[in-house]
Symmetry: D2
Subunit: 143 residues, 4 copies
Protein backbone atom coordinates (compact mmCIF):
# COMPACT_ATOMS: atom_id res chain seq x y z
CA UNK A 1 0.00 0.00 0.00
CA UNK A 2 2.68 2.47 1.11
CA UNK A 3 3.88 4.77 -0.15
CA UNK A 4 0.75 6.57 -1.26
CA UNK A 5 1.81 8.76 -4.15
CA UNK A 6 0.25 11.23 -6.56
CA UNK A 7 1.52 13.42 -9.39
CA UNK A 8 -0.22 16.80 -9.70
CA UNK A 9 0.24 18.94 -12.80
CA UNK A 10 0.65 22.65 -12.13
CA UNK A 11 0.88 25.33 -14.81
CA UNK A 12 2.99 28.26 -13.58
CA UNK A 13 0.98 31.49 -13.47
CA UNK A 14 2.45 34.84 -14.40
CA UNK A 15 1.68 36.22 -10.95
CA UNK A 16 3.82 33.47 -9.45
CA UNK A 17 7.00 34.86 -11.00
CA UNK A 18 9.11 37.60 -9.46
CA UNK A 19 11.48 40.19 -10.91
CA UNK A 20 14.24 37.58 -11.08
CA UNK A 21 12.20 36.16 -13.96
CA UNK A 22 11.51 32.85 -12.19
CA UNK A 23 8.87 31.39 -9.89
CA UNK A 24 9.05 33.14 -6.52
CA UNK A 25 10.34 30.57 -4.04
CA UNK A 26 7.45 30.87 -1.60
CA UNK A 27 4.98 29.72 -4.24
CA UNK A 28 6.31 26.17 -4.10
CA UNK A 29 4.48 25.89 -0.78
CA UNK A 30 1.21 26.46 -2.66
CA UNK A 31 2.20 23.83 -5.24
CA UNK A 32 2.88 21.33 -2.45
CA UNK A 33 -0.54 22.08 -1.04
CA UNK A 34 -2.26 21.58 -4.39
CA UNK A 35 -0.52 18.20 -4.72
CA UNK A 36 -1.68 17.25 -1.21
CA UNK A 37 -5.28 18.04 -2.17
CA UNK A 38 -4.83 15.89 -5.28
CA UNK A 39 -3.32 13.02 -3.30
CA UNK A 40 -6.25 12.89 -0.91
CA UNK A 41 -8.65 12.85 -3.87
CA UNK A 42 -6.61 10.04 -5.43
CA UNK A 43 -6.87 8.11 -2.16
CA UNK A 44 -10.66 8.38 -2.30
CA UNK A 45 -10.63 10.96 0.44
CA UNK A 46 -11.00 14.74 0.51
CA UNK A 47 -9.38 17.34 2.71
CA UNK A 48 -12.44 19.53 2.29
CA UNK A 49 -14.67 16.75 3.58
CA UNK A 50 -12.26 16.14 6.44
CA UNK A 51 -12.48 19.76 7.55
CA UNK A 52 -16.26 19.71 7.21
CA UNK A 53 -16.33 16.62 9.43
CA UNK A 54 -14.39 18.54 12.07
CA UNK A 55 -10.70 17.69 11.62
CA UNK A 56 -8.18 20.27 10.36
CA UNK A 57 -4.58 19.67 9.41
CA UNK A 58 -2.41 22.70 10.24
CA UNK A 59 1.14 22.65 8.93
CA UNK A 60 3.75 22.44 11.69
CA UNK A 61 6.92 22.24 9.63
CA UNK A 62 7.97 22.84 6.06
CA UNK A 63 11.26 22.56 4.20
CA UNK A 64 12.18 23.24 0.58
CA UNK A 65 15.40 22.78 -1.36
CA UNK A 66 15.61 24.67 -4.66
CA UNK A 67 17.57 22.98 -7.45
CA UNK A 68 16.66 24.72 -10.70
CA UNK A 69 14.44 27.71 -11.44
CA UNK A 70 10.95 27.27 -12.88
CA UNK A 71 9.46 29.72 -15.36
CA UNK A 72 6.12 31.24 -16.30
CA UNK A 73 3.93 28.88 -18.33
CA UNK A 74 6.03 25.81 -17.38
CA UNK A 75 3.94 22.71 -16.80
CA UNK A 76 5.36 21.30 -13.59
CA UNK A 77 4.78 17.88 -12.07
CA UNK A 78 4.49 17.94 -8.32
CA UNK A 79 4.88 14.42 -6.97
CA UNK A 80 3.81 13.88 -3.39
CA UNK A 81 4.38 10.80 -1.28
CA UNK A 82 3.27 9.57 2.10
CA UNK A 83 5.79 6.99 3.22
CA UNK A 84 4.68 6.23 6.76
CA UNK A 85 1.24 5.95 8.37
CA UNK A 86 0.05 9.08 10.15
CA UNK A 87 0.10 9.19 13.93
CA UNK A 88 -0.26 12.47 15.77
CA UNK A 89 1.40 13.99 12.72
CA UNK A 90 1.57 13.17 9.04
CA UNK A 91 4.54 13.73 6.76
CA UNK A 92 4.39 14.43 3.02
CA UNK A 93 7.46 14.44 0.75
CA UNK A 94 7.53 16.28 -2.55
CA UNK A 95 9.53 16.39 -5.76
CA UNK A 96 8.86 19.01 -8.42
CA UNK A 97 10.04 18.25 -11.94
CA UNK A 98 9.90 20.28 -15.15
CA UNK A 99 8.49 19.20 -18.47
CA UNK A 100 11.80 17.61 -19.48
CA UNK A 101 11.93 15.64 -16.27
CA UNK A 102 14.58 17.85 -14.66
CA UNK A 103 14.42 18.28 -10.90
CA UNK A 104 13.21 21.72 -9.86
CA UNK A 105 12.80 21.34 -6.12
CA UNK A 106 12.29 18.86 -3.31
CA UNK A 107 10.61 19.39 0.02
CA UNK A 108 8.46 18.09 2.83
CA UNK A 109 5.66 19.22 5.09
CA UNK A 110 4.60 17.87 8.45
CA UNK A 111 0.98 18.40 9.41
CA UNK A 112 -0.85 17.81 12.67
CA UNK A 113 -4.44 16.72 13.23
CA UNK A 114 -6.54 19.26 15.09
CA UNK A 115 -10.17 19.35 16.13
CA UNK A 116 -11.92 22.24 14.42
CA UNK A 117 -14.09 22.77 17.46
CA UNK A 118 -11.61 22.60 20.32
CA UNK A 119 -8.52 23.66 18.31
CA UNK A 120 -6.69 20.91 20.21
CA UNK A 121 -4.67 18.05 18.74
CA UNK A 122 -6.72 14.98 17.85
CA UNK A 123 -6.09 11.62 16.22
CA UNK A 124 -6.43 11.07 12.48
CA UNK A 125 -10.06 10.60 11.38
CA UNK A 126 -11.37 7.05 10.94
CA UNK A 127 -11.30 7.10 7.15
CA UNK A 128 -7.66 8.17 7.21
CA UNK A 129 -6.76 5.45 9.71
CA UNK A 130 -8.53 2.88 7.55
CA UNK A 131 -6.71 4.02 4.41
CA UNK A 132 -3.45 3.26 6.17
CA UNK A 133 -4.65 -0.03 7.59
CA UNK A 134 -4.59 1.31 11.13
CA UNK A 135 -8.23 0.29 11.56
CA UNK A 136 -10.16 -2.60 10.08
CA UNK A 137 -12.25 -1.47 7.14
CA UNK A 138 -15.94 -2.32 7.44
CA UNK A 139 -18.42 -2.01 4.63
CA UNK A 140 -20.77 0.20 6.64
CA UNK A 141 -18.27 2.39 8.43
CA UNK A 142 -19.21 5.76 9.80
CA UNK A 143 -16.45 8.24 10.40
CA UNK B 1 -16.86 64.70 9.13
CA UNK B 2 -16.93 63.23 5.63
CA UNK B 3 -14.88 62.20 3.88
CA UNK B 4 -13.14 59.86 6.27
CA UNK B 5 -9.64 59.46 4.95
CA UNK B 6 -6.45 57.62 5.86
CA UNK B 7 -2.98 57.27 4.32
CA UNK B 8 -1.38 53.85 4.75
CA UNK B 9 2.30 53.34 4.04
CA UNK B 10 3.13 50.11 2.21
CA UNK B 11 6.66 48.89 1.45
CA UNK B 12 6.65 46.79 -1.75
CA UNK B 13 7.82 43.23 -1.09
CA UNK B 14 10.00 41.28 -3.50
CA UNK B 15 7.34 38.58 -3.82
CA UNK B 16 4.89 41.21 -5.01
CA UNK B 17 6.84 41.83 -8.22
CA UNK B 18 6.49 39.77 -11.37
CA UNK B 19 8.83 39.03 -14.25
CA UNK B 20 7.97 42.38 -15.85
CA UNK B 21 10.06 43.81 -13.01
CA UNK B 22 7.15 45.72 -11.46
CA UNK B 23 4.47 45.11 -8.84
CA UNK B 24 2.05 42.46 -10.15
CA UNK B 25 -1.23 44.25 -10.79
CA UNK B 26 -3.37 41.99 -8.60
CA UNK B 27 -1.38 42.95 -5.51
CA UNK B 28 -2.89 46.43 -5.47
CA UNK B 29 -6.06 44.77 -4.19
CA UNK B 30 -4.09 43.68 -1.11
CA UNK B 31 -2.74 47.21 -0.68
CA UNK B 32 -6.29 48.60 -0.83
CA UNK B 33 -7.30 46.12 1.84
CA UNK B 34 -4.40 47.08 4.11
CA UNK B 35 -5.43 50.73 3.77
CA UNK B 36 -9.01 49.83 4.65
CA UNK B 37 -7.83 48.10 7.82
CA UNK B 38 -5.81 51.21 8.65
CA UNK B 39 -8.75 53.53 8.00
CA UNK B 40 -11.01 51.65 10.38
CA UNK B 41 -8.29 51.79 13.04
CA UNK B 42 -7.94 55.55 12.43
CA UNK B 43 -11.72 55.91 12.86
CA UNK B 44 -11.47 54.26 16.26
CA UNK B 45 -12.99 51.10 14.91
CA UNK B 46 -11.58 47.71 13.87
CA UNK B 47 -12.59 45.36 11.10
CA UNK B 48 -11.34 42.47 13.18
CA UNK B 49 -13.62 43.45 16.07
CA UNK B 50 -16.50 43.90 13.63
CA UNK B 51 -16.11 40.35 12.36
CA UNK B 52 -15.81 39.04 15.90
CA UNK B 53 -19.05 40.82 16.73
CA UNK B 54 -20.74 38.99 13.87
CA UNK B 55 -20.66 41.33 10.86
CA UNK B 56 -18.51 40.60 7.81
CA UNK B 57 -17.87 42.84 4.83
CA UNK B 58 -17.45 40.82 1.64
CA UNK B 59 -16.29 42.74 -1.41
CA UNK B 60 -18.90 42.93 -4.14
CA UNK B 61 -17.10 45.08 -6.69
CA UNK B 62 -13.57 46.27 -7.33
CA UNK B 63 -11.97 48.46 -9.98
CA UNK B 64 -8.36 49.53 -10.50
CA UNK B 65 -6.75 51.88 -13.03
CA UNK B 66 -2.99 51.54 -13.40
CA UNK B 67 -1.08 54.74 -14.17
CA UNK B 68 2.60 54.08 -13.48
CA UNK B 69 4.45 50.94 -12.41
CA UNK B 70 5.62 50.48 -8.82
CA UNK B 71 8.87 48.72 -7.95
CA UNK B 72 10.33 46.46 -5.29
CA UNK B 73 11.27 48.34 -2.11
CA UNK B 74 9.21 51.41 -3.10
CA UNK B 75 7.47 53.03 -0.15
CA UNK B 76 3.95 53.62 -1.43
CA UNK B 77 1.22 55.73 0.11
CA UNK B 78 -2.23 54.23 -0.20
CA UNK B 79 -4.83 56.87 0.51
CA UNK B 80 -8.35 55.62 1.15
CA UNK B 81 -11.50 57.71 1.40
CA UNK B 82 -15.09 57.08 2.38
CA UNK B 83 -17.12 59.86 0.82
CA UNK B 84 -20.68 58.80 1.60
CA UNK B 85 -22.26 57.10 4.61
CA UNK B 86 -22.70 53.35 4.31
CA UNK B 87 -26.12 51.92 3.64
CA UNK B 88 -26.54 48.32 2.50
CA UNK B 89 -23.15 48.80 0.91
CA UNK B 90 -20.07 50.89 1.60
CA UNK B 91 -17.75 52.40 -1.00
CA UNK B 92 -14.05 53.09 -0.53
CA UNK B 93 -11.96 55.08 -3.03
CA UNK B 94 -8.18 54.74 -3.27
CA UNK B 95 -5.18 56.58 -4.66
CA UNK B 96 -1.74 55.05 -4.58
CA UNK B 97 1.22 57.42 -4.87
CA UNK B 98 4.96 56.81 -5.01
CA UNK B 99 7.62 58.37 -2.81
CA UNK B 100 7.92 61.38 -5.13
CA UNK B 101 4.18 61.93 -5.02
CA UNK B 102 3.56 60.53 -8.49
CA UNK B 103 0.27 58.73 -9.07
CA UNK B 104 0.67 54.97 -9.35
CA UNK B 105 -2.93 53.79 -9.42
CA UNK B 106 -6.49 54.69 -8.47
CA UNK B 107 -9.34 52.39 -7.62
CA UNK B 108 -12.43 51.64 -5.60
CA UNK B 109 -14.08 48.78 -3.76
CA UNK B 110 -17.71 48.29 -2.81
CA UNK B 111 -18.37 46.10 0.20
CA UNK B 112 -21.61 44.70 1.60
CA UNK B 113 -22.54 44.02 5.21
CA UNK B 114 -23.26 40.37 5.95
CA UNK B 115 -24.18 38.51 9.10
CA UNK B 116 -21.49 35.99 9.92
CA UNK B 117 -24.09 33.60 11.28
CA UNK B 118 -26.77 33.69 8.61
CA UNK B 119 -24.52 34.72 5.69
CA UNK B 120 -27.34 37.08 4.73
CA UNK B 121 -27.10 40.84 4.11
CA UNK B 122 -27.48 42.94 7.23
CA UNK B 123 -27.26 46.61 8.13
CA UNK B 124 -24.04 48.31 9.20
CA UNK B 125 -23.21 47.68 12.88
CA UNK B 126 -24.19 50.32 15.41
CA UNK B 127 -20.68 51.67 15.90
CA UNK B 128 -20.33 52.17 12.15
CA UNK B 129 -23.70 53.92 11.93
CA UNK B 130 -22.70 56.18 14.82
CA UNK B 131 -19.38 57.07 13.23
CA UNK B 132 -21.29 58.36 10.22
CA UNK B 133 -23.87 60.17 12.30
CA UNK B 134 -26.62 57.78 11.24
CA UNK B 135 -27.39 57.06 14.91
CA UNK B 136 -27.14 59.29 17.95
CA UNK B 137 -24.00 58.55 19.94
CA UNK B 138 -24.60 57.71 23.57
CA UNK B 139 -21.88 57.51 26.17
CA UNK B 140 -22.90 54.05 27.31
CA UNK B 141 -23.69 52.49 23.96
CA UNK B 142 -23.43 48.79 23.43
CA UNK B 143 -23.02 47.60 19.87
CA UNK C 1 -13.74 34.57 -36.04
CA UNK C 2 -14.65 36.94 -33.20
CA UNK C 3 -15.16 36.54 -30.38
CA UNK C 4 -12.12 34.46 -29.50
CA UNK C 5 -13.10 32.51 -26.43
CA UNK C 6 -11.58 29.96 -24.09
CA UNK C 7 -12.72 28.14 -20.96
CA UNK C 8 -9.98 27.52 -18.39
CA UNK C 9 -10.51 25.11 -15.52
CA UNK C 10 -9.15 26.28 -12.18
CA UNK C 11 -9.14 24.21 -8.99
CA UNK C 12 -9.35 26.51 -5.95
CA UNK C 13 -6.30 26.14 -3.69
CA UNK C 14 -6.49 26.23 0.08
CA UNK C 15 -4.13 29.22 0.17
CA UNK C 16 -6.57 31.15 -1.99
CA UNK C 17 -9.24 31.19 0.72
CA UNK C 18 -9.40 33.74 3.53
CA UNK C 19 -10.85 33.64 7.02
CA UNK C 20 -14.32 34.34 5.63
CA UNK C 21 -14.10 30.75 4.39
CA UNK C 22 -14.29 31.73 0.71
CA UNK C 23 -11.86 32.58 -2.09
CA UNK C 24 -10.18 35.90 -1.29
CA UNK C 25 -11.50 38.41 -3.82
CA UNK C 26 -8.10 39.47 -5.14
CA UNK C 27 -7.34 35.95 -6.32
CA UNK C 28 -9.86 36.24 -9.14
CA UNK C 29 -7.32 38.48 -10.85
CA UNK C 30 -4.92 35.51 -10.94
CA UNK C 31 -7.69 33.29 -12.33
CA UNK C 32 -8.36 35.83 -15.09
CA UNK C 33 -4.67 35.80 -15.93
CA UNK C 34 -4.52 32.01 -16.09
CA UNK C 35 -7.47 32.06 -18.49
CA UNK C 36 -5.71 34.67 -20.63
CA UNK C 37 -2.65 32.44 -20.87
CA UNK C 38 -4.92 29.56 -21.88
CA UNK C 39 -6.72 31.66 -24.49
CA UNK C 40 -3.50 32.64 -26.21
CA UNK C 41 -2.45 28.97 -26.28
CA UNK C 42 -5.84 28.06 -27.76
CA UNK C 43 -5.31 30.74 -30.44
CA UNK C 44 -2.03 29.09 -31.41
CA UNK C 45 -0.10 31.88 -29.74
CA UNK C 46 1.77 32.19 -26.47
CA UNK C 47 2.15 35.13 -24.14
CA UNK C 48 5.50 33.74 -23.06
CA UNK C 49 6.74 33.71 -26.66
CA UNK C 50 5.38 37.23 -27.15
CA UNK C 51 7.41 38.53 -24.20
CA UNK C 52 10.49 36.69 -25.43
CA UNK C 53 10.05 38.36 -28.82
CA UNK C 54 10.06 41.75 -27.09
CA UNK C 55 6.41 42.74 -26.51
CA UNK C 56 4.89 42.90 -23.03
CA UNK C 57 1.27 43.43 -22.11
CA UNK C 58 0.93 45.37 -18.86
CA UNK C 59 -2.57 45.62 -17.39
CA UNK C 60 -3.96 49.16 -17.41
CA UNK C 61 -7.43 48.55 -16.01
CA UNK C 62 -9.27 45.80 -14.22
CA UNK C 63 -12.79 45.39 -12.89
CA UNK C 64 -14.50 42.56 -11.06
CA UNK C 65 -18.09 42.04 -9.90
CA UNK C 66 -18.58 39.34 -7.27
CA UNK C 67 -21.85 37.42 -7.44
CA UNK C 68 -21.45 34.28 -5.34
CA UNK C 69 -18.60 33.03 -3.17
CA UNK C 70 -16.30 30.24 -4.37
CA UNK C 71 -14.85 27.66 -2.00
CA UNK C 72 -11.70 25.61 -1.50
CA UNK C 73 -11.48 22.64 -3.86
CA UNK C 74 -14.19 24.02 -6.19
CA UNK C 75 -13.49 23.38 -9.84
CA UNK C 76 -14.20 26.73 -11.47
CA UNK C 77 -14.58 27.50 -15.15
CA UNK C 78 -13.06 30.81 -16.14
CA UNK C 79 -14.38 31.81 -19.56
CA UNK C 80 -12.48 34.56 -21.31
CA UNK C 81 -13.54 36.39 -24.46
CA UNK C 82 -11.94 38.87 -26.80
CA UNK C 83 -14.77 40.62 -28.60
CA UNK C 84 -12.94 43.28 -30.57
CA UNK C 85 -9.60 43.33 -32.38
CA UNK C 86 -6.71 44.81 -30.40
CA UNK C 87 -5.45 48.28 -31.25
CA UNK C 88 -3.22 50.17 -28.83
CA UNK C 89 -5.04 48.22 -26.13
CA UNK C 90 -6.75 44.86 -25.88
CA UNK C 91 -9.80 44.06 -23.80
CA UNK C 92 -10.62 40.68 -22.27
CA UNK C 93 -13.98 39.86 -20.67
CA UNK C 94 -14.40 37.08 -18.11
CA UNK C 95 -17.12 35.00 -16.53
CA UNK C 96 -16.37 32.59 -13.70
CA UNK C 97 -18.86 29.79 -13.11
CA UNK C 98 -18.98 27.04 -10.49
CA UNK C 99 -19.32 23.32 -11.08
CA UNK C 100 -23.12 23.58 -11.18
CA UNK C 101 -22.94 26.35 -13.75
CA UNK C 102 -23.80 29.10 -11.27
CA UNK C 103 -22.22 32.51 -11.88
CA UNK C 104 -19.46 33.32 -9.41
CA UNK C 105 -18.02 36.53 -10.85
CA UNK C 106 -17.66 38.59 -13.98
CA UNK C 107 -14.91 40.98 -14.92
CA UNK C 108 -12.68 42.54 -17.52
CA UNK C 109 -9.09 43.58 -18.01
CA UNK C 110 -7.61 46.07 -20.45
CA UNK C 111 -3.99 45.53 -21.43
CA UNK C 112 -1.58 47.69 -23.41
CA UNK C 113 1.21 46.63 -25.74
CA UNK C 114 4.65 47.75 -24.60
CA UNK C 115 8.13 47.22 -26.00
CA UNK C 116 10.23 45.29 -23.53
CA UNK C 117 13.29 47.23 -24.56
CA UNK C 118 12.05 50.80 -24.61
CA UNK C 119 9.19 50.34 -22.11
CA UNK C 120 7.15 52.52 -24.48
CA UNK C 121 3.77 51.68 -26.03
CA UNK C 122 3.97 49.72 -29.28
CA UNK C 123 1.55 48.13 -31.68
CA UNK C 124 0.38 44.52 -31.34
CA UNK C 125 2.93 42.01 -32.68
CA UNK C 126 2.46 40.70 -36.24
CA UNK C 127 1.16 37.29 -35.20
CA UNK C 128 -1.49 38.94 -33.03
CA UNK C 129 -2.52 41.27 -35.85
CA UNK C 130 -2.77 38.31 -38.21
CA UNK C 131 -4.90 36.31 -35.77
CA UNK C 132 -7.41 39.15 -35.83
CA UNK C 133 -7.25 39.61 -39.60
CA UNK C 134 -5.58 42.99 -39.26
CA UNK C 135 -2.73 41.79 -41.51
CA UNK C 136 -2.72 39.34 -44.39
CA UNK C 137 -1.43 35.93 -43.31
CA UNK C 138 1.47 34.60 -45.35
CA UNK C 139 2.72 31.05 -45.17
CA UNK C 140 6.27 32.07 -44.42
CA UNK C 141 5.66 35.00 -42.11
CA UNK C 142 8.25 36.09 -39.62
CA UNK C 143 7.03 38.04 -36.64
CA UNK D 1 29.83 43.01 14.75
CA UNK D 2 28.17 39.62 14.29
CA UNK D 3 25.43 38.73 14.48
CA UNK D 4 23.79 41.37 12.32
CA UNK D 5 20.20 41.55 13.45
CA UNK D 6 17.04 43.46 12.61
CA UNK D 7 13.45 43.43 13.85
CA UNK D 8 10.83 44.10 11.16
CA UNK D 9 7.24 44.89 12.08
CA UNK D 10 4.62 43.23 9.90
CA UNK D 11 0.88 43.83 10.18
CA UNK D 12 -1.03 40.70 9.08
CA UNK D 13 -3.25 41.40 6.07
CA UNK D 14 -6.69 39.88 5.64
CA UNK D 15 -5.63 38.25 2.38
CA UNK D 16 -2.87 36.44 4.26
CA UNK D 17 -5.36 34.39 6.28
CA UNK D 18 -6.94 31.16 5.09
CA UNK D 19 -10.18 29.41 5.94
CA UNK D 20 -8.62 27.97 9.10
CA UNK D 21 -8.89 31.54 10.37
CA UNK D 22 -5.12 31.98 10.74
CA UNK D 23 -2.21 33.21 8.62
CA UNK D 24 -1.65 30.74 5.76
CA UNK D 25 1.66 29.04 6.46
CA UNK D 26 3.28 29.91 3.13
CA UNK D 27 3.01 33.63 3.89
CA UNK D 28 5.72 33.41 6.53
CA UNK D 29 8.16 33.12 3.64
CA UNK D 30 7.09 36.59 2.52
CA UNK D 31 7.50 37.91 6.08
CA UNK D 32 11.04 36.49 6.19
CA UNK D 33 11.78 38.24 2.92
CA UNK D 34 10.45 41.57 4.17
CA UNK D 35 12.70 41.24 7.23
CA UNK D 36 15.68 40.49 5.00
CA UNK D 37 15.03 43.67 3.02
CA UNK D 38 14.85 45.57 6.30
CA UNK D 39 18.06 44.03 7.60
CA UNK D 40 20.03 45.08 4.52
CA UNK D 41 18.66 48.62 4.89
CA UNK D 42 19.67 48.59 8.55
CA UNK D 43 23.18 47.50 7.53
CA UNK D 44 23.42 50.52 5.22
CA UNK D 45 23.00 48.32 2.20
CA UNK D 46 20.08 47.60 -0.12
CA UNK D 47 19.07 44.41 -1.89
CA UNK D 48 17.52 46.54 -4.63
CA UNK D 49 20.82 48.31 -5.22
CA UNK D 50 22.65 44.99 -5.17
CA UNK D 51 20.45 43.61 -7.94
CA UNK D 52 20.84 46.83 -9.93
CA UNK D 53 24.61 46.45 -9.61
CA UNK D 54 24.35 42.97 -11.09
CA UNK D 55 24.21 40.51 -8.17
CA UNK D 56 21.07 38.54 -7.35
CA UNK D 57 20.44 36.33 -4.35
CA UNK D 58 18.21 33.38 -5.23
CA UNK D 59 16.96 31.28 -2.33
CA UNK D 60 18.35 27.75 -2.31
CA UNK D 61 16.84 26.41 0.89
CA UNK D 62 14.12 27.39 3.30
CA UNK D 63 12.75 25.87 6.50
CA UNK D 64 9.94 26.96 8.81
CA UNK D 65 8.69 25.57 12.11
CA UNK D 66 5.22 26.74 13.15
CA UNK D 67 4.64 27.14 16.88
CA UNK D 68 1.49 29.19 17.31
CA UNK D 69 -1.01 30.58 14.83
CA UNK D 70 -1.01 34.26 13.87
CA UNK D 71 -4.19 36.17 13.15
CA UNK D 72 -5.48 38.94 10.90
CA UNK D 73 -4.45 42.42 12.12
CA UNK D 74 -1.78 41.01 14.46
CA UNK D 75 1.35 43.14 14.60
CA UNK D 76 4.15 40.63 14.29
CA UNK D 77 7.84 41.15 14.92
CA UNK D 78 10.05 39.30 12.48
CA UNK D 79 13.58 39.17 13.84
CA UNK D 80 16.28 38.20 11.37
CA UNK D 81 19.88 37.39 12.14
CA UNK D 82 23.03 36.74 10.15
CA UNK D 83 25.37 34.79 12.39
CA UNK D 84 28.21 33.94 10.05
CA UNK D 85 29.89 35.86 7.22
CA UNK D 86 28.64 35.02 3.72
CA UNK D 87 30.77 32.88 1.45
CA UNK D 88 29.27 31.29 -1.65
CA UNK D 89 26.04 31.25 0.33
CA UNK D 90 24.49 33.34 3.08
CA UNK D 91 22.27 32.09 5.86
CA UNK D 92 19.55 34.09 7.60
CA UNK D 93 17.74 32.89 10.75
CA UNK D 94 14.30 34.17 11.76
CA UNK D 95 12.04 34.30 14.77
CA UNK D 96 8.50 35.62 14.52
CA UNK D 97 6.86 36.80 17.71
CA UNK D 98 3.38 38.13 18.42
CA UNK D 99 2.48 41.37 20.17
CA UNK D 100 2.68 39.70 23.59
CA UNK D 101 6.11 38.34 22.81
CA UNK D 102 4.90 34.78 22.24
CA UNK D 103 6.81 32.74 19.66
CA UNK D 104 4.84 32.24 16.45
CA UNK D 105 7.41 30.61 14.19
CA UNK D 106 11.11 30.12 13.58
CA UNK D 107 12.90 29.49 10.33
CA UNK D 108 15.90 30.00 8.12
CA UNK D 109 16.75 30.69 4.51
CA UNK D 110 19.96 30.03 2.63
CA UNK D 111 20.64 32.26 -0.37
CA UNK D 112 23.29 32.07 -3.07
CA UNK D 113 25.03 34.90 -4.91
CA UNK D 114 24.40 34.89 -8.65
CA UNK D 115 25.49 37.18 -11.44
CA UNK D 116 22.44 38.77 -13.06
CA UNK D 117 24.14 38.68 -16.43
CA UNK D 118 25.57 35.18 -16.56
CA UNK D 119 23.10 33.57 -14.14
CA UNK D 120 26.14 31.78 -12.70
CA UNK D 121 27.25 31.71 -9.06
CA UNK D 122 29.46 34.63 -8.05
CA UNK D 123 31.09 35.90 -4.87
CA UNK D 124 29.37 38.37 -2.55
CA UNK D 125 29.63 41.98 -3.79
CA UNK D 126 32.38 44.16 -2.35
CA UNK D 127 30.09 46.18 -0.09
CA UNK D 128 28.76 42.98 1.44
CA UNK D 129 32.26 41.61 1.98
CA UNK D 130 33.29 44.88 3.62
CA UNK D 131 30.28 44.86 5.93
CA UNK D 132 31.42 41.50 7.23
CA UNK D 133 35.06 42.53 7.46
CA UNK D 134 36.08 40.19 4.66
CA UNK D 135 37.70 43.12 2.80
CA UNK D 136 39.40 46.25 4.11
CA UNK D 137 37.08 49.25 3.95
CA UNK D 138 38.51 52.20 2.02
CA UNK D 139 36.95 55.63 2.05
CA UNK D 140 36.73 55.84 -1.72
CA UNK D 141 35.73 52.30 -2.52
CA UNK D 142 33.85 51.47 -5.68
CA UNK D 143 31.89 48.28 -5.71
Amino acid sequence: MLPFTHAEKVRVRYCETDQMGVVWHGNYIAYFEAARTGLLHAMGHSYRAMEESGVMMPVVEVGVTYLQPAYYDDLLTVTVEVRTPPRARMRFDYTITGSNGEDIATGFTILAFMSRETRRPCKPPLLMRQLFGLEPQRSNNHN
